[in-house]
Symmetry: none
Subunit: 204 residues, 4 copies
């Protein structure tokens, strides 16, 4: 019922294109994401990735043109669901019910790709200079346009923005405080929904 191909489900997005006999490309992505999330982008060298995979650095370059392309490919593969979600949200009426649904699904999407989002959050300065910086910003603006009502009170706007990065950062922080991930998730989601709900009432 889950992860039907034994690869944590993330191959679903791009179809069969890259299912070469060897699966090195995929393995590079997996190891890279793990190391990027753990140590940061700049402190993870291609040498290190290659060593973990027991291939040479040059092999990485067979699969990716640059170091940046590795992270870009991860971002593209893993944030497809979010892109879809935003597209969906744009076409809905921006009611409270829609917003709550968006928040719920967004929370799911973040959880599914949590190493990537941990990475994005902890490497903002780096990410800003990479191609994914702009991509990420655009997605965030997309979310904002759905969640935040530009005519609302400034305080209510902050509530909505706060809901978003409560989702982004909340889970990691609570986890670091020793709370069970599943519990943390539920509590964070509740607070986020609460925030947008209050925002709606305030402006309504």
């Amino acid at each position: 019922m889950e992860a039907r191909d034994g690869t944590d489900g993330r191959r679903g997005a791009d179809g069969a294109k890259q299912r070469r006999r060897g699966n090195t490309r995929q393995r590079i992505q997996d190891v890279a994401l793990e190391l990027f999330a753990e140590q940061g982008y700049e402190k993870t060298s291609l040498r290190e990735i290659a060593e973990r995979l027991d291939v040479t650095k040059a092999a990485l370059y067979y699969h990716f043109k640059t170091k940046e392309e590795i992270i870009v490919s991860l971002f593209e593969d893993l944030t497809k669901p979010i892109e879809d979600l935003i597209d969906w949200g744009r076409r809905q009426p921006h009611t409270l019910e829609t917003k709550k649904e968006i928040i719920r699904r967004y929370s799911d999407a973040l959880t599914a790709a949590s190493p990537l989002f941990r990475f994005m959050q902890e490497n903002q300065a780096t990410v800003r200079d990479l191609r994914i910086g702009q991509m990420f910003k655009n997605r965030m603006l997309g979310m904002r346009d759905i969640i935040v009502d530009p005519d609302a009170d400034l305080v209510d706007q902050v509530r909505c923005v706060s809901a978003l990065f409560t989702l982004h950062a909340g889970m990691f922080v609570m986890r670091d405080m020793g709370v069970d991930p599943e519990d943390a998730r539920g509590a964070v989601l509740e607070v986020a929904i609460d925030l947008v709900t209050q925002a709606q009432h305030g402006s309504g």
Copy 2:
């Protein structure tokens, strides 16, 4: 009547210690902070700092033993008010009124040292490996112990945590959205106080 030394007032914290005849140490800190905040820690090289100051890299080493020491010194100088605030908070009863006061003063402190906090936020992966990582974490735990009631409902705990990083991130985000900094600050503060207030009521 203000900023008696022409350096935006930030020398106030550490007293006369470093007020040597030359002010190079200070200038190094200023330039370093600017560049760290703008580009990140790893992407800012000592060469770059030295060039901006029109001194040699070796001069930096006269004033600081390592690159890390520069950021440590900035952290220590600029977060003294927060340390004091936590010390104060610890000695107060953990009432809602105290918490609100803490939030208010914390907001002031963040604003006063906003480039540093922008830096901390955007370079978390890097900061984690530096000495300031632990320092910062300890401060955050100190704040948490004052603001968050461990016996409270998990959701209310999240509310408090969320209040804290709403303060941390909120101002930067709102500013990036084109809101006037002073307005942003007020709105962010209001949301944060709201969150701890709700938390208190929930658990009360």
Copy 3:
């Protein structure tokens, strides 16, 4: 009635040897020569050649054992007429008339293979270390032995040598100065013939 194979006629020299069904070998040579002439030998990578042809690098290795072999094959194919010319010249009496005829035909041969000669001229340092370096040198010595009279006055010897590289370099330079190629060719040829003529009279 001309260029019976649609490839500007240069296949004429080596006969049927390489007329396999596919024409990849030929296409590799054409693209390689173009790029070598344009960018130089070292700055042209096999990747680049392969990409232009929309084949893989490995395909190049099916047709040529090494990168060097590509340039060697070009040299051999394209300088066959010059080799023949030298063989012919050797068997003639070294009269002024013969020399003039050699110069004329040499000019034709250079024109026919001008990208190769442009390449040879602009990559002398590289060529020296390749197999074609020695081949080329031998050809030049062959020409010299026909054109230059070793008993002649040193100045006259220089005249003859100068005639040769006036031919080699002259056309490219004049073309770069915006002169019509056909005109340039004529003028260059006249100066070269003049030089050997003067040399003959001087030593006679």
Copy 4:
């Protein structure tokens, strides 16, 4: 009476600027020029230069920002006399006598910096992509404007151009043919002067 500082005279041009206690910068230039002339630019690695000098590669980067800057510095230092010569030539009437004088002095200048010019000649493809490519081209155009009369017969124009690269290439070629350098120089110079003289009479 010559080379008053034991460094073959080439320090004369840039004055005392770089006469540091250590003379590493100068030694880098010397070794680099030797290797560039011998093996070509691309085939000479910074590792090789550093090893010959028994310093690390990083030391090279203390003195020169890039590999290209090494060759640029050599070009600038060593072709100063030619630049001066062109400036002088521009201010003279373009009579035959002036042209002959230019040719003579140019020959001297080439001889003085012959390794550099050997390098330029044998690495044209490379040089074209470096900053010195344009510099060199500009100098050549400067010479051309003095030596070549644009109203003259095309053949006479070729004579003048031919005179120039007879000077450039002649010496190296004759030397390779086993002729005494001093004799070669004289003969080459005579042919070059002859060519411009003929050109003048033709158009006069």
